[in-house]
């Protein structure tokens, strides 16, 4: 892999976001709405119930971390869609750029975008709702790592779908986090779910993050081994997602679909 080519893919996204106000603010609009909505709800629940539970780190913290994962995923998929929308596939795939360099460049764009979003979310949550990131202690590093890595895996999986089925398939990608959220127990323990949903939840790394948050709020000791397992599982997902992307790429090169995506209008 050549770093300069990875940088080129990253730089293209940087130019696009820097030079376009809509793209720039689009990163922050939904997360701001989410923080406001869940922040006020958490505040209300804290005052309205006699529960000893601390709702701010429980709900607002969970939303903040879930949105962080979505930002990582969307950062990758948006960067790929920019190439689809501007009919740039042929220029990209008929260049010396390797698939691994392209995907790494997209992942870097996703990481940069999500860090930006995380800073804004933390700032808003801290200033408006008194959220303290230090509530989670050292575990936060594990939480963010798991969500980072799993977000990358989801992003690569999402763009594989679009590469295989064409640009119009982007509508399959946007709802992926929403589809997964009931299974990973963002707001409730996995034990709330039916057995088969619990099984799915256990093989999804974010479940370990959200059960970890609840554990901290309830004053339980956190298993580092479980969090490390979450990280390893996320890495496995990245490898699988990358394999799917490579298979999709080979398929569209064999069938000529990649040329059609470049040449024809979105259909």
């Amino acid at each position: 892999m050549k770093a300069i080519r990875i940088y080129a893919i990253f730089l293209r996204q940087f130019y696009l976001i820097r030079d376009n106000v809509t793209r720039f603010f689009q990163i922050f609009i939904w997360i701001t709405v989410d923080i406001a909505l869940w922040g006020f709800l958490s505040k209300y629940l804290s005052g309205a119930t006699e529960s000893t539970l601390s709702f701010i780190p429980l709900f607002l913290g969970a939303v903040l971390l879930w949105d962080f994962l979505i930002q990582v995923m969307q950062g990758i998929s948006m960067s790929f869609f920019e190439d689809a929308w501007s009919h740039n596939f042929l220029n990209i795939f008929a260049s010396p750029l390797r698939i691994s360099e392209y995907v790494t460049g997209l992942a870097l764009s996703g990481i940069a975008r999500s860090i930006l979003a995380l800073v804004v979310m933390l700032t808003l949550a801290t200033i408006i709702f008194g959220f303290s990131v230090f509530t989670y202690g050292v575990s936060l590093i594990f939480f963010l790592s798991i969500l980072f890595l799993f977000g990358i895996a989801l992003g690569i999986f999402g763009i594989s779908i679009v590469l295989r089925l064409g640009p119009s398939a982007e509508w399959f990608v946007w709802p992926i986090p929403a589809v997964l959220s009931p299974f990973v127990g963002v707001f409730y323990p996995l034990s709330t779910l039916p057995q088969w949903m619990q099984f799915v939840g256990h093989i999804l790394p974010p479940s370990y993050v959200f059960s970890g948050i609840r554990g901290i709020v309830n004053g339980e000791a956190l298993s580092i081994q479980t969090l490390i397992f979450g990280i390893v599982l996320s890495l496995v997902y990245i490898a699988v997602a990358y394999g799917i992307f490579v298979l999709a790429y080979r398929r569209v090169v064999r069938t000529g679909l990649i040329i059609r995506y470049s040449a024809e209008n979105l259909s």
């Binding site: 050549k2 080129a8 376009n20 740039n88 042929l90 220029n91 010396p96 090169v253 000529g256």
Partner: protein
């Protein structure tokens, strides 16, 4: 002269349709080869297979001895292309696009090279303009500048002057002729403008129904087949390919 492109037994079939049928040809350095044929003859399919974005059913493509199927990145770092259906992204400026593609192609002294190309293709006043806001002719010049960024040893041009006015097209033709004559690169050029082909190409390949039917010097080939000029020969090949297949 060295071979920059060697195509051997190239075939592409889609279910029961054969788009390209067992073609073999080569391009040497300092040579401009015209790939001619009617719509649907297999020209663009051939170019796409050379560029590695379409996998051949059979056959091989070597760019300076690098098999595109095995050493894709090495082969494509010596290649570049422009096609009417592959304009550079319209949402970046001219200089941003050239900078990004320059990084991808590993161009040395990139800023200097971009400056040269902006001047050469008369794009200096558009350097900070988004490509999508340019006229089609200006966009074609940007694509040509992108294609020349890495001083490719193999330059693939799919109807490069299709959207240019006659004056600009003539300037571009001269630039590419000059590039092929002075540099180390070879050019594979498709066009439907027979006067252009006669003017720029050292050799032509006539493709019809995925097969190469004729090959030769564009200046002498029409006479060899009893035709007035290249356009008349083109029409004859396009309408009666079987006659030429048998010769």
């Amino acid at each position: 002269m060295n071979l920059v492109l060697e195509v051997s037994g190239l075939t592409k079939t889609y279910k029961d349709i054969t788009a390209v049928n067992n073609i073999s040809f080569s391009v040497k350095s300092n040579e401009i080869v015209g790939l001619l044929g009617p719509n649907g003859a297999g020209k663009t399919t051939t170019i796409n297979m050379i560029l590695g974005v379409l996998e051949p059913t059979e056959g091989t493509v070597h760019i300076e001895n690098n098999n595109i199927a095995k050493k894709r990145s090495e082969a494509l770092s010596r290649t570049n292309f422009t096609a009417v259906y592959a304009q550079v992204p319209g949402n970046l400026t001219v200089s941003q696009n050239l900078y990004i593609f320059g990084l991808i192609y590993g161009v040395a002294n990139l800023q200097t090279r971009i400056g040269q190309l902006l001047q050469e293709f008369e794009l200096e006043r558009f350097k900070d303009v988004k490509c999508g806001a340019l006229s089609s002719g200006e966009q074609t010049r940007v694509s040509l500048a992108k294609a020349m960024l890495n001083k490719p040893h193999l330059l693939l041009l799919d109807e490069p002057t299709a959207s240019l006015d006659p004056s600009t097209a003539q300037v571009i033709r001269e630039k590419i002729k000059d590039y092929a004559a002075k540099g180390t690169g070879g050019v594979l050029w498709t066009s439907h403008n027979m006067h252009e082909v006669e003017n720029v190409c050292n050799r032509i390949l006539f493709l019809s129904h995925g097969k190469i039917l004729l090959e030769g010097n564009p200046k002498t080939l029409p006479q060899e087949y009893g035709k007035k000029d290249l356009e008349e020969l083109f029409i004859a090949v396009a309408r009666e390919p079987l006659t030429f297949e048998l010769t």
